[in-house]
């Protein structure tokens, strides 16, 4: 790992962490509002509940995740392949392009000129710089794909016939999947939202915009999740003192994610008019299909952890769990993230169920779900990764491992309170994205639970502040040298047991496009041909 590659990763991480900070502060405001404490009249900058909620969503789910991933996966790839990044210059250009895009989007966002939520459904019309800025960030992610592909090609030239090392293989699959999936949002931005926000065209169409948005909007959750899986598969087994159970099974599941992540976005649009029920059902089937690689991951990762715990003297069917090295904050964060993700996965199946979704769609249930998935499976895992990655990049040991262990447990407990309460409120029919403290229709049964949203959110906020405190003290006050970074796990069943076709790209990418064409083609063509683009934009915040 050359210093210039490390600096690149550090730069992406720095932006990601600043975004997370902004996201958790606004998150606290949101949680307090639901508990009846309206802080917005006294906050600087943040103008309203909805302004705060837009900042919270954009900063946490779009910026924190994307910048972290664009810093972390190139680092993992070059380390696994043992070759330098194909072009550090391209990497630096990518970083500045994405950062300029972020600043462009942030100016209207902070100035309350883009209070349209992170889903920016038209005809709510934000300032054009918001759309252009976010588009530059997406273009930046494509350049990361290019850089990783060039890096892999350089490695392949020196290693003909060798199996791509698993961590690099997974990072490449993640970016290949994302690049295909992001074509939807790119089309929405370039063809619809940017010309419209610039005043070049008069009208827009909400249904087509939502369809293109969710083309990208579901696979984007796999773009966030797969980097966490990479850590669970390739680092966590070693951190637990064991081995990866099955390398071929890991590759199989990632190939399935590459193929299946995109052609299922209609499950976010079950309640949209204008899309035939039959196509919605097809997407329901495909969503259940993508549950299969998730189950494979669950088994493989847990079996790997078990091998570590047994090597450390763990016994019994369940009791081995206690023998994991719980004093390691990085591993503790990941294992707790996995535990809560189990519930996130089960809830996700309910959301994906064609009919059950009617009970939960756009209720607080979805907010509870999202906080288990991106808010815990992804975020808590990324926190766990930074507990070794930041010390490594800084060259100093983590300031306090004990504080870090306490922080991850606090996140776990806070999230159980927060997310469980929101799930229940959703089942009671409380809408999401709503300033509940000011709503006239709050039901008595909601009232009893709302304080728990504030309590859970506050615990999460304290946890995140301890996290930032520990990282800042690591940067400025830690004196001990950084320990070695976790090595990649060996596998009980190694890459040589995997069919060679898993290491080829073209068939899988072609298959991914074919499935997308089947699942989306007819509806997209119909909408493209019939859409009149006659909805004028509005600014109603």
């Amino acid at each position: 790992m050359s210093p210039s590659e490390n600096r690149l990763t550090a730069a992406f991480l720095a932006i990601a962490l600043v975004a997370l900070f902004g996201g958790v502060v606004t998150g606290l405001f949101q949680a307090l509002e639901h508990a009846g404490v309206n802080v917005y009249p006294s906050t600087p900058v943040v103008k309203s509940y909805y302004h705060s909620l837009t900042l919270h969503g954009v900063l946490n789910v779009l910026v924190w995740t994307t910048f972290f991933i664009c810093g972390f996966l190139p680092w993992i790839t070059t380390r696994a392949l043992g070759v330098p990044l194909a072009s550090v210059g391209l990497g630096r250009f990518t970083f500045w392009l994405m950062t300029i895009g972020l600043v462009m989007a942030a100016i209207p966002l902070i100035g309350n000129a883009a209070t349209v939520m992170f889903t920016f459904y038209p005809p709510l019309k934000a300032h054009w710089a918001f759309y252009v800025g976010l588009t530059l960030v997406v273009v930046g992610t494509w350049l990361v794909t290019l850089n990783l592909a060039l890096t892999w090609r350089a490695w392949r030239r020196g290693n003909p016939g060798a199996r791509t090392p698993l961590p690099a293989f997974m990072a490449l699959v993640t970016f290949a999947m994302w690049t295909i999936a992001s074509l939807g949002i790119a089309a929405e931005m370039l063809v619809m939202l940017i010309p419209w926000s610039l005043g070049l065209v008069g009208g827009t169409d909400p249904l087509l915009a939502r369809t293109l948005f969710w083309f990208t909007g579901h696979p984007i959750v796999y773009f966030w999740l797969l980097p966490a899986y990479i850590s669970w598969y390739t680092l966590a087994p070693r951190q637990a003192g064991g081995k990866l159970f099955s390398d071929p099974m890991a590759r199989t599941s990632f190939i399935l994610f590459l193929i299946l992540s995109t052609p299922l976005g209609f499950h976010h649009q079950y309640t949209d008019p204008g899309i035939q029920q039959g196509w919605k059902l097809v997407h329901a089937f495909l969503t259940f299909a993508v549950f299969f690689p998730s189950l494979l991951t669950f088994f493989n990762v847990v079996a790997s952890l078990e091998s570590g715990a047994r090597a450390r003297g763990g016994k019994g069917w369940i009791a081995w769990f206690g023998k994991l090295p719980w004093g390691d904050p990085s591993l503790a964060a990941q294992v707790l993230a996995m535990l809560l993700f189990t519930f996130g996965g089960v809830g996700g199946l309910i959301n994906a169920s064609y009919n059950l979704n009617l009970v939960v769609h756009n209720t607080a249930w979805i907010v509870g779900h999202l906080h288990l998935t991106v808010g815990t499976a992804v975020t808590l895992t990324f926190m766990g990764i930074t507990y070794w990655l930041v010390p490594h990049l800084r060259g100093r040991a983590l300031w306090s491992r004990k504080l870090a262990v306490a922080q991850v447990w606090l996140w776990f407990v806070g999230m159980i309170i927060f997310s469980n309460t929101l799930h229940r409120l959703g089942l009671m029919g409380m809408p999401r994205r709503t300033m509940i403290g000011a709503a006239s229709y709050v039901q008595p049964e909601w009232k009893a639970l709302l304080p728990l949203v504030g309590i859970g959110g506050s615990v999460l906020f304290v946890s995140s502040m301890l996290y930032f405190l520990n990282l800042i003290l690591t940067l400025v006050a830690s004196r001990a040298p950084a320990p070695a970074v976790p090595g990649f796990a060996e596998a009980l069943s190694g890459p040589d047991h995997a069919p060679a076709i898993l290491d080829r790209w073209r068939p899988w990418i072609v298959l991914a496009f074919v499935l997308i064409a089947v699942a989306y083609g007819p509806t997209l063509v119909r909408l493209a041909v019939t859409t009149p683009f006659n909805a004028p934009g509005l600014r109603v915040w």
């Binding site: 459904y121 909400p206 009919n355 756009n362 709503t434 069943s493 109603v540």
Partner: protein, 168 residues
Amino acid sequence: MKRGTTVYLYELAWILPSFAIPVGMLVALVITAFGAGIHLPGNEGRIDPTKVAESAMFKTPGVIEIAPGQYEVRMTAQVWSFAPNEIRVPAGSTVHFWATSKDVVHGLLIPHANVNVMLLPGQIAHAQARFDTPGEYLIVCHEYCGIAHHTMAGRLVVEPRKTAEVAR
């Protein structure tokens, strides 16, 4: 995936149920979705979002009885209200909602009644539900639609059969 090894046997023992579980769930889903007559919004056609008030369908929003026990609600959503914002039907009625938005994206949610549909400018939305239990149901907009989104609500009153008939 090397045949004959312990790892292979464990893989197989997991892969087969991992395949069977989602398939089983799908079967249950399809049976309950279509057996129970759950209705999802489909493609009901477009409407010019700038001319909703002039359209035949939404000229006069309100409730009409189309057959005994069958009611049709013509509803428009706009910042930040539903029209009509109060609906009264006798218990045991099936209510067909036909709705659209005049401005931004709204949502129509009636908790505990399986009415959950997005109201998109440009699209005619349809949902239906049967109301057997007398009482008051909340009608709420469940999509962010601007600064006063949290004030956008209405109510659906299901009246006991007798009083409803007397009033009529």
